[in-house]
Every structure is written in structure tokens, then in C-alpha cells.
């Protein structure tokens, strides 16, 4: 019994104080941990991080609504920021350095921290020819060698689908997916875990994989290549924002300023993400080198249910 009391006392000593900033982040964990440490060194404000997927973060925000805890949110999906803004949950703020960020990547209430692009990831040891475009994977050499993350579970994969539907047209996109399915493509779970079979060589290629994770693995010696088809791909910018019920908006603003500073953006670039600021160099192909498909992600989001059920029909 005394042990139990001791444990409870130990647990209660974890309580956050008013001088801490709470950040919910769907970005790379070591990135946000490092930025939090550095920010505390500079300003003395302690930053507590909750790390999760975009879905987990949104679920938590929803459940906490009656007594909010979070001050800052960094999500991996542009639409989630838009939805929060529409719900009236965001504080209007444009951090210092926003003038260096392209217009498409900022709003009055949120701004990109970094950008991921969706790539074709190919295993070099797989005894298959190097694919150049999405459609190449319908060739017999890639029979049962392709996978793609599930757009229902991966926001990025859904963006890829929206981009394809816009650039190729509806019919051509569904025809391509039908073709891929006929060639034995497998739809697996969410993003990062979808890459594991490609790394181990169970599959030769992944479609619509988030590129920065693959670059990180390549840098650690994995035999993979990250290919951006000339026919175009889509980007998934990662918005950061301040919640308007934050009890310490000033510290939250200072934190966003720091995230968008050259220092903060260099840390983003070191994770192989494309930094939001133009004046911070990329460590991988940047926005200029990629053929980008621009599409109306809002319109796609509005049709989400139909698109996903069509996708399920085609890939079953």
C-alpha cells in the first residue's frame, strides 16, 4: 500500500506548470525534441511535446475541447489546419520570416514548417528495372512487386490520389489503379510501415511514399532510390499553428518565430524535408527540381468519401 502511494505521488509530480508550452506534433520526433530543447535554452520557456500521427492529434484536440491543453499544433496535413481555422480554433499570426515563404504555403492563421513530397521508392537490389514513372509499374516485371499506403489511413497517400485525379483525369487514374491491382499491387497500412517491405525486398517499389523518411533511410545505408516521376507528383506541406485558447499566446508566437527562423528551418532541412523558407538550402531535390501537380485539395477533401470508396472498389 505504501508503495502504491509512493507511485501515485511520483506520478503527480509530473504536473505541468504555467510556464510550459505544450506542443502537439505530427512531425519527426527527434526534430521537435531538438527544437524544443534549443528553444528552452534561448528563452527559458519549457516545451512539452506530445508526439503522434495527425489523426491522433486531432482526436486528442477534439476530446480535450472542454478544457484545452495544447498551445501549438504541427500537423502533417494541410486540410486539418483549414478545418481548425474554420472551427474558429486558431489564432491569427504570421511569424517572423513569413515573407520568405511562398504564398501557397501560408495562410493568415497557419504556415508551413516544412514540405514533404510523394515519391516512388524503389529497392535497388530487387532485380527489377529502375521505374521512371507510375505507369511503368503496371509492366509484368513488377508483377506482385508493388505496394502503396492506404489513402484512408495516410493523408499523404490521399493527396497523391487527389493529384493524380486532377492531372491524369478521373478515368485514367482509376484505369491506372485497376491496372496496378491486376498486376498484383498490395495496399498496406499507414506510411512509414509501408516502406518496410520495400526495404527488406519483399516488394520492389512503393507508390506515393513520403519522401523524407525514405531519404533518411537511404542516408543510413538502405539500398533504395527515391524517384520523382517526370509526369508530376504532389507535395504535402506540414502546417504549424497556434490555438486561440492558448493561455500563453506570447510564448507560442515566440516558438513559431523560432521554428521559422533560419536555425529552425535548417533543422527541418536536416530531416530531409523541404524547408518552408526559400533562403534555407535543401538537402534533397527542392520545389524547383520537382514537377508539381497543383490541385484543389479542398474540393478533393469534400469528395473524400466517394474517392475512398471508389479506391476500395478498384483495389479489392
Amino acid at each position: 500500500m505504501r508503495n502504491l502511494l509512493f507511485i501515485i505521488v511520483l506520478l503527480l509530480s509530473h504536473v505541468s506548470t504555467a510556464q510550459t508550452l505544450t506542443v502537439y506534433s505530427a512531425g519527426p520526433n527527434d526534430l521537435i525534441q531538438q527544437l524544443a530543447r534549443d528553444f528552452e535554452k534561448i528563452t527559458g520557456t519549457k516545451v512539452q511535446v506530445f508526439q503522434g500521427t495527425t489523426g491522433q492529434i486531432m482526436a486528442r484536440l477534439e476530446a480535450e475541447r472542454s478544457n484545452p491543453v495544447a498551445d501549438v499544433v504541427i500537423s502533417a496535413s494541410w486540410d486539418s489546419a483549414l478545418a481548425l481555422k474554420r472551427a474558429g480554433d486558431l489564432l491569427e499570426y504570421s511569424p517572423k520570416g513569413a515573407d520568405q515563404v511562398p504564398d501557397a504555403l501560408k495562410d493568415t492563421h497557419y504556415i508551413a514548417q516544412g514540405i514533404a513530397a510523394l515519391a516512388l521508392v524503389w529497392n535497388k537490389n530487387s532485380n527489377t528495372p529502375r521505374p521512371g514513372d507510375w505507369a511503368d509499374l503496371t509492366q509484368p516485371e513488377y508483377r506482385r512487386q508493388v505496394l502503396m499506403p492506404d489513402p484512408a489511413q495516410s493523408g499523404a497517400a490521399f493527396e497523391w490520389l487527389g493529384g493524380m485525379l486532377t492531372s491524369k483525369g478521373e478515368q485514367a487514374t482509376w484505369a491506372l489503379l485497376t491496372e496496378l491491382r491486376r498486376n498484383g499491387m498490395v495496399v498496406s497500412g499507414p506510411n512509414a510501415r509501408a516502406l518496410n517491405p520495400v526495404l527488406q525486398g519483399a516488394k520492389a517499389a512503393a507508390i506515393g511514399a513520403v519522401d523524407y523518411i525514405a531519404y533518411g533511410q537511404q542516408a543510413r545505408g538502405e539500398a533504395i532510390e527515391i524517384i520523382f516521376p517526370a509526369s508530376g507528383t504532389v507535395i504535402a506541406p506540414r502546417p504549424m499553428m497556434i490555438l486561440n485558447y492558448s493561455r500563453q499566446p506570447e510564448q507560442a508566437k515566440a516558438f513559431l518565430d523560432y521554428l521559422l527562423s533560419v536555425e529552425g528551418q535548417t533543422a527541418v532541412a536536416n530531416q530531409y524535408l523541404i524547408p518552408a523558407r526559400r533562403d534555407v538550402p535543401d538537402r534533397r531535390p527542392g520545389l524547383q527540381e520537382l514537377t508539381l501537380i497543383s490541385f484543389d485539395s479542398e474540393a478533393m477533401e469534400a469528395r473524400r468519401g466517394d474517392i475512398l470508396s471508389q479506391f476500395r472498389k478498384v483495389t479489392r
Binding site: 509530473h14 491543453v69 518496410n196
Partner: protein, 570 residues
Amino acid sequence: MNTLSTTHNTSRFRWHTLTAQVPMGIALASLLVLVGLPLLFVLLQVIFPELTRGSLANAFSPLLHNLADPELLALTGNSVRLGIAVVIVSALIAVPLGVLRALTRLPGAAWWDVLLLVPFMIPPYIAALAWVMTLQTNGFSQQLLGVAGDGLVFSFSGIVLVMAFNIFPVIYFAVSRTLSAVGGRYAAVAQVCGATPWTAFWRITLPLSLPGLAAGLLLAFALSIEEFGTPATLGPAIGFEVLVTGIHRRFSDWPLDMPGAAVLSLVLVLLALLAFWLQHWLLNRRSYVSLTGKPAPFEKADLGPWRWPVLALFALMVFLAVGVPLLAVLATASTDTLSGGLQWSNLSTRHFTALFANQDGALAALATSLSLATGTALLTGILGALIAYLVVRSSIKGKSWLDFLSLLPNTLPAIVIAVGLILAWNQPFWPVNVYNTSLMLLLAYSCLLLPYPVRYTGASLRQLGDNLEAAARVCGAGFTQSFIRIVLPLIAPSLLVAMLMVFAIASRELVASLMVTPAGAQTVSTFVFGQFEQGSPGVGMAMSLVAILTTTVLLVGLTGVGRRRLPGVG
């Protein structure tokens, strides 16, 4: 010897309402806080979709719309199919093992018990991932033996097998502990009366062990319809979705569909209720008292030359349930790159180095998980034993509600409990701040795992004769005193095994942890999950291995302190 008479009354002796009132109050209050509160808030959320926004508008509107969800039937069918298949396969594995363990002189018996506790410590999604990496094309099995089982691991049978390997120990421990308790006394009597050992076993020993077996099967069923990790890892590739993964999708895919998730949760609860009711109906038709508390020397059968095939069977099952997953985890954690495969040149301690450099607080996460698991085991152990005792022995009205409430968490997906806990504890009116502290994790784990001690001790109480308690009462002992001095020592074997299971499962729980871990803290499971999410499977697997080994060593240490082997071994 009227123990085998089919009476409705399981026990002629009952504590009066008066003496049991205080403990009853404690048990009920704890249950209401642990289980009732989060459930109440989930229900409120279902009825009032705008509740989190502080409004009671649009009551019931999403509920009706979601009951017409076309996926509902398909998901429910899949869950039931999966649950039944897993229970059958698990029972086929576990019952023979449990019987052999209890009634024969198995060499190294205590060690087999320890080994069969390990599956509880392996997170299901890690086990599933380990099987994938072993069996998929170019997986470890193909690299080592030239055989791949791609078609097996990604199939309904694959999901059932992987889950059964993870769940069968629940039945094994229930069966072996109950049989040890039933012992061979009645069987010996039967043999004196001319029955063959075989007949004695089928007609006497096995029927008397039904409470334990039924409790084990029920737990296994509830566990398999509630498990998220394996179907989530193996299901998407074959388009197989169950209620839990459906709930999860609605809860964590943007945009959220909380009402939809809640409706699916209600269906899950109903399923589990059905199983609970079935168990209740089976067990309450007769009395199973076979333990009088008097010492009964019980000679276990000698295996003789059968020793080797029996040992081979145990070794095979341990290899499948523990060996393969751990070896795959070890292989992933100790190779430099996945694409490099199992080559000596690809061997590396890089991932372990990263871990012990305390990258992102790995060791802190381990400490958090272990202390929480200890706290959960103590809390649920004390509370569970008390609840089971009240349910079996007191004549208080509404005690079946206690029983039901304590089983309920076993049927609720962890994510639902987590959301309920957030809704409940993150209210401005609480005097102390519980939300956003690690106490939330303790509440979540205790709620989720309370059924184990309740089921296990309940089963052994049903076999415990009440003469001793009656005697204690005649000698002037009260409810509490006789509970502590007489009942607890007698049910200790089952209770301890249940507490060890709670410890093991709490040390690796993922789904609820992801939701309620306070900002700034991490558990082992959230740490590992984060590593996978960010494409460092090596570090994730290294952490899993360290955690599994640490908890195993701790368990062996814990059980070795008091006695030199696991409890409950006659």
C-alpha cells in the same frame, strides 16, 4: 461429498450484508471511478455529439444515422469469425499443454511457465510485424531456409494463427491452475471405484475444472475481438477489417467520426456481453466446489518415456509463440540495414547504441512503463480479488453488476476507454489536475486490465469450499479478517498469475497509451511506435527487445524472491 450435485446454489454459506458493507462500498466506488466514469462519458458523447464543445445540441442525431452504416454487419461478422477461430485454435494449443502441466511431472515445469508468460510482454503489433518480416518474400525465413510464406502470413488463417500464438497462454494458465487446484483427489476416488484414469479425467477432473476453462476461453474471446495490433498489421493487405480496426479508423483518421466509432464500440460491448452471459449460464447451473482447504497430497502422474514427445510439444509451442517473434525482433535490431539482409557484414550494434545514448528518452520511457506496470498490478490485484470475493461470496443485491462492470473493460476497445478517460478527467470542475499527468495511464491500464484478476480469482473461488470461512466466522472473525487470513492465501496462486499478466500487458500497452500519455512523457510502446512511424524500425525493435527482456527478468526476479518458482504449482 455432495459437491457434484447439480444445485442452483453454489454455496450454502454467505456473508451477511452488514459485515460486507464497507468492502463492498470500496469495491463499488473504485469500479465506478475506474470503469463507470469513462464509460458514462463515452455514452454521453454518443448521445450528445456537441458535448466536447459544451453544448447538448443535436442529441441522438448521429446515432440513428450510424446504425444504418452498411459496414456495420460486415465488420461485426468479421469480428465474430475472428474471435471464434482464435478461441478454437488457442484452446487446441493450450488445453493439452495446461492438462499436461497440471497433472504430470513435467521436467522444468516452472521454466515453461515463465516462457509462456513472455507472449504477454510482446506487443501484438510487434509480434505481427515480426511474423511478416520472417515469412514475407525475401524475409528472414527465405534468407535462412529458402522458404517464404507470403500467402500464409497475409491471410485470415495467418491472422488467426498469429493472434492465437499471442493469446493461448491465457487459456493455458487458467487450465493448468484450475486443474492443479482440483487436483487428483476426486479422480483418485473414482479410480478406487473402478474407473480407468482416462475415465476419471474425462468424467471428474475436467468437468470440475470447467470454471477455470470457461473463464480462460471467455478472456481469450474478449481479447481477440478487442485486439488491434494484429488485424491492423496484417489485415489491410487482404482487405480484412474488424470492428476494432473500424473503430480505430473512425477515431484517428482525419476527419474524425466519433459517433460512428461509438456505435461500433457499442456493438463490440454487446458481443462481449453475449459471451459473458453464456459463461454465466454455463457455470451457474451446478456447483464446482472441490477445494476444502484441507491439505491434500496429490501425486502427479509420471510421464516415463512419454517425457520426450511432451517436451518436444512444449518446445515447439514456445518456439512459435516466443522464439520466432523474438528472433525476428533481434534480427531487425542487430542488422545495420534491412535491405542488407542477414549477412555477417551487415551486423551492427548501431540501433542499440542509439538507444543507450538515451536518444529521445528511451530509458526514461522504460522506467515510466515499468513503474506504471507495477502500480497497475498492485491496484488491480487488490481490487480484483476483493470484487471476485464479493461476487462469489456475498449476498449483496446487485453483485452481478459488480461482476459485469469488472468484465466490461475487456470488451471495450482500448481507444474507447482512452477517449472516455480524457472526456471524464479533462473537466474544469475537478479539484486536482489528473488529466495530463501519468495518473491517466495508471487509470487506463487499471481499467483495461482489471478483468484478469477478477476472472482468475473468481474461478478459483468457485472451487473453494466455504467451510473454512464458516469456521472463521464461528471463531469471531469478520469479513475483512477472514478474507485476508483465509481466502487470500488460498487463491494466491491464481491471483499472482493474474497480476503477473497484468504487469506484462501494462508494460507494453499501446493503443490507450498513444491517446492518454501526457505531453512530455513517453512509455515503451509509444516510443517504439514513434520509431516505426519515423522509419527507424531498427531502433524500434531494439527498444522492444530491451523492454521484453527487462520485464521477463523482473518477472523471474519477482517470482523468485518469495519462492523459487511460479506460484500455484502443486
